[in-house]
Amino acid sequence: MKVIKIDKKDWAGGIEKIQSSYRLYGPVKSDAFHDFKALEKGELPDLNFSNTRVSPKSVVYPQSEVMFEYSLDEKDAEHHILKDAAKDYSPKAVLGIRPCDAASFLLVKRNFDTPEYKDPYWIKSYEATTFVGYACNNPCATCFCTTAGSGPFNEEGLDVLLVDEGDCYYAKVITSKGESLLNAAGWKTGADGGAPDKIAALEKEAGSRIASSVTTGRLKDKKTTELYEAPFWEDVSFACINCGTCTYLCPTCWCFDIQDENSGCSGVRMRNWDSCMFPLFTIHGTGHNPRGTKLQRVRQRFMHKLKYYVDKYDNGIQCVGCGRCIRSCPVNIDIRKVCDMMNSYDPKACACPAK
């Protein structure tokens, strides 16, 4: 694999060059946190971060997105006809995305881009994006990516992987999309022959710093109905306040709600992120709610990520181990703990902590 060496003194200049051909996004610090934001002209991504508090999924899949516009004015010849909203699918690039977050787009793709159904907004936005990853030399204590199908130097879902090597970045060229971006930035100097070894050493060290893990190997063999009826859900869900923090911060949660919003005689049809933690998510027009209790909603979130998804796609859990839900849950519900409970559940032994 080709490795380019980017001297840090050439970093700002390269970014300036690509700003005319790409809309750039990167981590920006406000108050105590970093978040992915559109970079203003001349603004650099702040790579002095461990990870952002909200995932970068919004770069491809905004929290609120207008799909159609319409007129309700009957004098208007085309009233009550949905028209595609104007969209910008020109090239964009995310600079400094962590490997776990980049891998999450591949998981979400399984839902938005199937042989049967194709979500045009997500797919076009995703295809317009070049993912420039930033390897994690110093993973957080809550990172468990290595047992969730990813890793601090994982390349899946990335076009380029940057590795911080003191005075320079090594840029591993993963796809031709990535190569185009590097060329456009004028970063063309091949790294010296020792680079792959240096990268491998950093990767090994980062991997050894991942202190946290999940066990998932037996989830597939568990009976869905037995897990569903497991007695531990009362204990797991007790503390939950049913806010949307875990789902909104999660890079792999993809659910949305469709709303029409009118203002005077015109309106838009939009979609907004939704959360299975909210009672409104499932309530029927009749007023009946099939997931009317907190326990049912908490169970749904974990069963979806750790059982239904596993069974449906046969490609691991619907989680990349970024740890955001663990760090930000207001009441300390920990997916690692729940995953282990599910993975080791034996209905015959019924080692139920709630009893």
């Binding site: 978040d35 461990s50 949307g244 923090t245 709303q259 907004n272 009672p279 663990i326």
Partner: protein, 315 residues
């Protein structure tokens, strides 16, 4: 406060063994530093899971709403005031509760501490007024009094106002605390400055409703933002909708808020949500001499009329 736990466990054991309660609601040790998890214990053999330290900031009154069991609940000053509010508002019956009062010396601000250690925190221990933080193998000792949640630093009701058991002797309340400096600062702004200030304050909001859901006062079966017939409030990131949510939520807490800080603590994006409710708390104190949840025998000012109520705002 670390010594409290032996008494909490002992009292809980007695309550469970004597059949006076069906469950104890308290905290168990969290899976990450600076967090404990609200939990219930039904079997007195499992009381060793209960913990008490300066990371028990979540308001446990939130877990009582409409429960039917006989419950033993661990309650700090603020929790006890929300229990009183729950009793007044018929969300729980006093006779269903055995309140284990905690004379509270304050909870630490998890964001403040986390922000001080960029390399992450491996472990935290505490002893009296000292918090020891281990980060990358290096231990740092800090004064707990410098790290309190803001509402705890300003608290003048640390002792439970209602209780059946006490985990420790009552403590001296904080005197001469400047509780409303922030409110006065905002009151001094022009209308335009206030508008900009609150606009910036809530700009990171992702509408996850953690502030609402962490609050024991927010128990409506369907919140106004979740109503769909009619739909009062849009669901997008439109800033008017987000403002509508925050402003109305705050007003719904007027005369009821105990300044427990649950909203602020829960917010995943660090919004200082108390900036809204503090003003209403101050107004209730100034106009009605009222602080929420101090006595189950007094009706709150906003559901009673007194001839002497201030009426200057009626033009």
């Amino acid at each position: 406060m670390l010594g409290y736990i032996d008494n909490i466990r002992e009292i809980s054991k007695r309550l469970l063994d004597e059949g006076r309660v069906d469950m104890i609601i308290g905290f168990r040790k969290g899976t990450i530093p600076l967090m404990n998890e609200p939990c219930f214990v039904k079997n007195s053999g499992e009381l060793s899971t209960l913990v008490w330290d300066s990371n028990c900031g979540i308001n446990l009154a939130n877990y009582l709403t409409d429960r039917k069991e006989k419950i033993g609940i661990v309650a700090k000053g603020c929790d006890s005031r929300n229990i009183v509010t729950h009793i007044i508002e018929n969300k729980i019956k006093r006779e269903k509760l055995v309140i284990i009062g905690i004379p509270c010396k304050g909870m630490v601000d998890k964001r403040k501490i986390a922000g001080m250690f960029e390399n992450g925190i491996e472990d935290i221990t505490e002893e009296d007024n000292i918090i020891r933080v281990k980060s990358r193998g290096v231990e740092t000792s800090l004064n707990k009094s410098d790290l309190l949640q803001e509402n705890c630093a300003l608290c003048v009701h640390r002792n439970p106002v209602i209780y059946d058991e006490l985990a420790a002797p009552l403590i001296e309340e904080q005197k001469s605390v400047d509780r409303y400096a922030d409110v006065l600062r905002i009151e001094a702004m022009t209308a335009q400055e206030k508008w900009e200030y609150f606009k910036d304050l809530i700009s990171p909001c992702i509408r996850c409703y953690a502030c609402r859901n962490a609050c024991p006062l927010c128990y409506c079966p369907t919140c106004f933002v979740d109503e769909s017939r009619p739909q009062w409030c849009g669901k997008s990131q439109d800033e008017i909708d987000t403002r509508t949510f925050h402003f109305l939520r705050a007003y719904h807490c007027a005369g009821r808020c105990t300044d427990c800080g649950a909203c602020e603590r829960a917010c995943p994006v660090g919004i200082k949500v108390r900036q809204f409710t503090s003003k209403l708390n101050k107004d209730c104190l100034d106009m009605f001499g009222w602080e929420a949840g101090l006595s189950p025998d007094q009706r709150p000012p906003l559901d009673t009329y007194k001839p002497a109520d201030p009426g200057d705002f009626i033009k």
